[in-house]
């Protein structure tokens, strides 16, 4: 069964208050950290092997060590713009245990020599932002911020602002568009200063790593995916919700064991292992261990740890449309492949629904996804192209059957030759 770290006391009433949090041992990791040298704290984080919980899975300690040394303004931005469809773990964490995040931020800031921190929280999380505001005030009064200015900044409702450089632009008061990398935020981030950007869950794990020691933490999970992970399970399961699991747990155990699997009589059609932007897996993949490398080897990704289960009562085309529409709506429009590719894809799927497509359109759709992947300014384009591409690849017969069925259903099939659209005039009339 899962090892509970972050969620150990999550349902404790009043955990969001400083009093209860401290009673449960809160802020003792901070005290421990402050007695250590910053380099040693950083070394613990490195030893823990923790990989970023936001989606990219980059080693957190390594990222923190990229920050240039020397005295200058350095920033930490906690990415609380949790917008990936299917992901709702940070919400629960911030709402129920805001001090765990704050403690993690203060420790990370100490380790990386940061003198100003921000929590960029998505605008829709108004309630959680209020909780955070109150908790930050409480922590400050109690002297737990270690002199670190910590600002909770609310976004205005854009998925793209979860992309780290767009987040920085938005935080600076600009239109939230991704920046060109390099320079990477570690060198030139917020206000052109060195900036460390981490996900809520990553930072909330920091106190636990310090408390138990990096080496001890690294014993959890599997070799390249250490520790525990919050997993948001949603879709066609009987018990949707957030679960804390040890990385490497078999996927079936999460989907069927914890979340109860699809309703009686239904089978898994496909599942997204890491939010809607991860390439889909099928029921054949259910026995894979749930960790970063296995998911990558299976052609998908662990992403934010959001498992979305789709059962066989759904059409894959509907799922594709839902996904494509989301990314079309959220594309910032800065780079051409994403802006036009998401838009084009939606139009193609809509044409399938309208019974006006042919199987040839599937080739075009697959090729459009290929043309998007790797060619965009940020990963938003890939975030649509990867799942859509995987759906076309893995469910081509379903797509073809759907196209044919819709054509018949909507009476678009005819044996007559269509009228030529333009009459060609030869010479003078």
């Amino acid at each position: 069964m899962a090892q509970h770290l972050l969620f150990k006391d999550i349902d404790e009433p009043g955990l969001s208050t400083l009093e209860v949090y401290e009673r449960r041992g809160g802020y003792s990791a901070l005290r421990k950290a402050l007695e250590m040298e910053p380099e040693d704290v950083l070394a613990e984080l490195n030893a823990s092997g923790i990989r970023g919980r936001g989606g990219a899975g980059f080693a957190m300690g390594k990222k923190a060590s990229f920050l240039p040394k020397g005295s200058m303004d350095k920033y930490l931005c906690c990415n609380a713009d949790e917008s990936e469809p299917g992901t709702f773990k940070d919400r629960e964490l911030m709402q129920k245990s805001p001090h765990m995040l704050i403690e993690g931020i203060v420790i990370a800031a100490y380790a990386a020599g940061i003198n100003r921190a921000f929590i960029y929280i998505r605008g829709e999380y108004a309630e959680q932002a209020d909780v955070l505001d109150a908790a930050v005030a409480e922590a400050e009064r109690a002297g737990h911020l270690n002199g670190l200015p910590l600002v909770v900044h609310r976004g205005a409702g854009a998925y793209i602002c979860g992309e780290e450089t767009a987040l920085l632009d938005s935080l600076e008061g600009k239109r939230g568009n991704p920046r060109l990398k390099p320079p990477f935020p570690a060198n030139q981030g917020l206000y052109q200063g060195p900036t460390l950007i981490n996900n809520v869950e990553t930072l909330a794990t920091v106190p636990h790593i310090i408390a138990m020691g990096g080496a001890e933490y690294a014993k959890l999970g599997v070799e390249t995916s250490t520790g525990t992970k919050l997993v948001s399970v949603s879709g066609n399961v009987q018990r949707p919700g957030n679960y804390e699991i040890e990385l490497g747990t078999p996927s079936r155990e999460i989907i069927y064991g914890l979340a109860g699997g699809p309703p009686e009589g239904r089978e898994v059609l496909l599942w997204f292992p890491g939010g809607s932007s991860s390439p889909v897996l099928t029921k054949d993949d259910l026995d894979l261990p749930y960790d970063f490398d296995t998911m990558a080897k299976a052609g998908s990704m662990l992403g934010s740890g959001a498992i979305i289960v789709v059962d066989d009562s759904n059409s894959v085309v509907d799922v594709a449309l839902k996904v494509a529409k989301f990314y079309r709506h959220e594309s910032c429009g800065k780079c051409s492949p994403c802006r036009e590719g998401t838009n084009w894809t939606v139009k193609m799927i809509e044409r399938m629904r309208a019974g006006e497509a042919t199987p040839m359109d599937l080739d075009i759709m697959a090729s459009v996804q290929t043309n998007i992947i790797g060619n965009c300014l940020c990963v938003l384009g890939d975030a649509m192209a990867m799942p859509i591409g995987s759906m076309v690849e893995k469910f081509r017969p379903e797509f073809e059957a759907y196209i044919e069925a819709r054509r018949r259903e909507l009476d678009r099939v005819t044996d007559e030759m269509p009228e030529p659209p333009l009459q060609v005039l030869q010479g003078a009339r």
Binding site: L180, R328, C332, C335, S336, T342
Partner: protein, 804 residues
Amino acid sequence: MPRPQPAEITFSIDGREVAAPANMMLVDAAKRGDIEIPVFCYEPKLGQPVGACRMCLVEIEGIPKLQTACSTPVKDGMVVHTQTERVRDAQAAVVEFLLVNHPLDCPVCDKGGECPLQDISFGWGGGRSRFIEAKRHFQKPLELSPLVAIDRERCILCYRCVRFSQEVSEDYQLILQERGADTYVATFDGHPYVAPFSGNIVELCPVGALTSKPYRFRARPWDIESSASVCTLCPSQCNVTFTVRDERVLRVLGRDNEEVDDGWLCDKGRFAYQAVHVEERVTRPMVRDGGELRPVSWERALSEAASALSRARGRVGAVVGGQTTNEEGFLLQRLVREALESPHVDSSPLGSRSRADLVALANPRLQATVSDIEFAHTVLVLDCEPIDDAPILDLRIRKGVRRQRTKLVVATSRPSALDPNAVATHRFAPGEGAEFARALARHIADPLPDDDAALRDFARSLRAAGDEVVVVAGERSAVEAVALAEALGLAEVSGAGILEIPSGTNGRGLREAGCVPGSGPGYAEAPEGLSTPRIAEALSKGDLTAAYLLHVDPIRELPGRGTWEGALERATTVVAHAAFLTEGLREHATVVFPAEGHPEKEGTVTHPDGRLQRVRPAIAHQGENRAEWQVLADLMRALGVDPGVLTAGMAFQQLVEAVPFYAGLTLDTVGGRGVRWPERAQATSLPDVEREGSAVGREEARAEGEGLRLGTFRSIWAAPEVEHAPALKFLAARQRAELSPEDAQRLGIRNGERVEVGANGTRVRATVALRHDVPPGTVFLEENVAEDGANLLSGEPLVEVRRS
């Protein structure tokens, strides 16, 4: 600030070994090996690359993903491929994406034939469209401004125009609205995009989305000819290309010259060409006959002018306007000095600068260049408003501040558009710029314990960033700027010095050609003569009887309108060269020769930084116009002096022979980019003239008593060319009184109200424009407007403002 001096590196591209400066962007470095990488959003003039269009994807060995060549600095040993299947597929894919929403209506698009999207689609695209869905639709075309039309369906969202507005002109008007495929370019508040540099976005647009309203549908690229020249509408002297069809100028484009204009144009320079082709223009010589100016033959006009001037021999005063070329100025001073035996010729509206002052100002060691502005540690804007006086310098100053972290300090009487970019600003009372510069120079050379704290702080800001200081000075304070530059030791510092903005386009060249009383060509000693204001006085008194007005209408343009009215009234002969019959000429001229428009002219002008530039004719003379150097030569001949000039080239040759520091220059060496004489060995031939003590004090009327201090300024839009160009008319300057909100409140005046500004019974009508930063107790009026010019109140330091 040291300019970047990158080392040469070698890299390999498509199997070729190519040398390029380290860290040059791959797109540019590839050109060194004759390899073109297609781009849309990349434009180095706009600052850092954004990598948005993704057109320039290339393969670099060792990097798994394709990289944008526009944002990848080239490194030694880099191995780049632009012709692999992977690159070709990616580039074709981007073209396909860009065409998804782009209408394929090239045959009816104004950009067709000179369209980068068209060219790149042919060169790098897949050649067929797989997109059969409906494209997005917008209403079209819309007016983005009265000068620019926007067709949003054609826009490929490359960001160039928005970046220009945000990061180059910093007017912050253009933005992108909405998101994703719904994104479109718009102004922030939906108001028209009206700004001094708005036309540049048309030239930047890589598709037919932004088009010039005056040029739209006037010609196809295969109908037109291009002709390179220089814009002579202001001292910036931007390098331009005229687009000509059937002897009519249809368009003006920038001709990038990093040392002059950095590739930008102001809207006046871009659209005022229209004034060359309007009915109102003078295209025939005219003579006053029965109280009216009437068109006459050239023979009659020349003989009337010659005989009238001949009668006034020795009593002729000549005033030369800023748009005069070096050759015209040179011939005019010969005409006046040799043929008319009169020493009174001046090209400065202010007068009173001694030959020694001008020589000191021309010192090559104190001469800053335009690009020095960008790389200096500090730029001081002294007693001028670049956006009005030499607009393109405003952009250069902004560029330095934004990209090189140059520190800007501003000392003016009127609030400057550059104030927000400055680390320090100082406001002196109108007319006290020279005094301030003197005080600043004295403080720097010899600080006294009881010096004013504000002065001390300002001097500190001026010197805090480093030794390389560039002083951009207005004509009124330029001589004092020399003392300041000396106090700062700028002669010893490379990349530092003074850049004077003269009040006329070719103010510098005309000085060097000898249009200064007491100073002949090359600042040679000449018989003492009267300065512009003194000419007016002498004419009014009858000491002079004839006025020669070369491209200037004193009633409109020069200070002291009252004096000039009396002067021209009394003068028996007023010979003028003019393109438009402005008020003073209509009333007083006895002979008017048509002035050439700048696209018709042949000659040279001298940039404020000493760069001689060629003005080359793009179109044939309109109507009966003749070359003006020829008119001046003909007049000399009629007055019995052989000018020795039969062609424009001979006029230039004479000038070069007369000015020692121009020695050896030919039109070929001047060429298309110009030559800076202060950089040539011959610069040492600048005469050595002893300066007598401190600069000559000018009679600035002292302000005593009650009322508001009156300051004046000349707007970029205050020019007859603007009034007569149909597209620009809406911008033509009308008299406005800039007032502080405090004074307005005290006087019970609201923004936009009509007022009268006056003193001693003289009144100027104006519309009130409240400006937050105008120092209380001051009011500013515009010079050189068609009606109600501020020069009615010259000599009145204090005025009262009252509701009319």
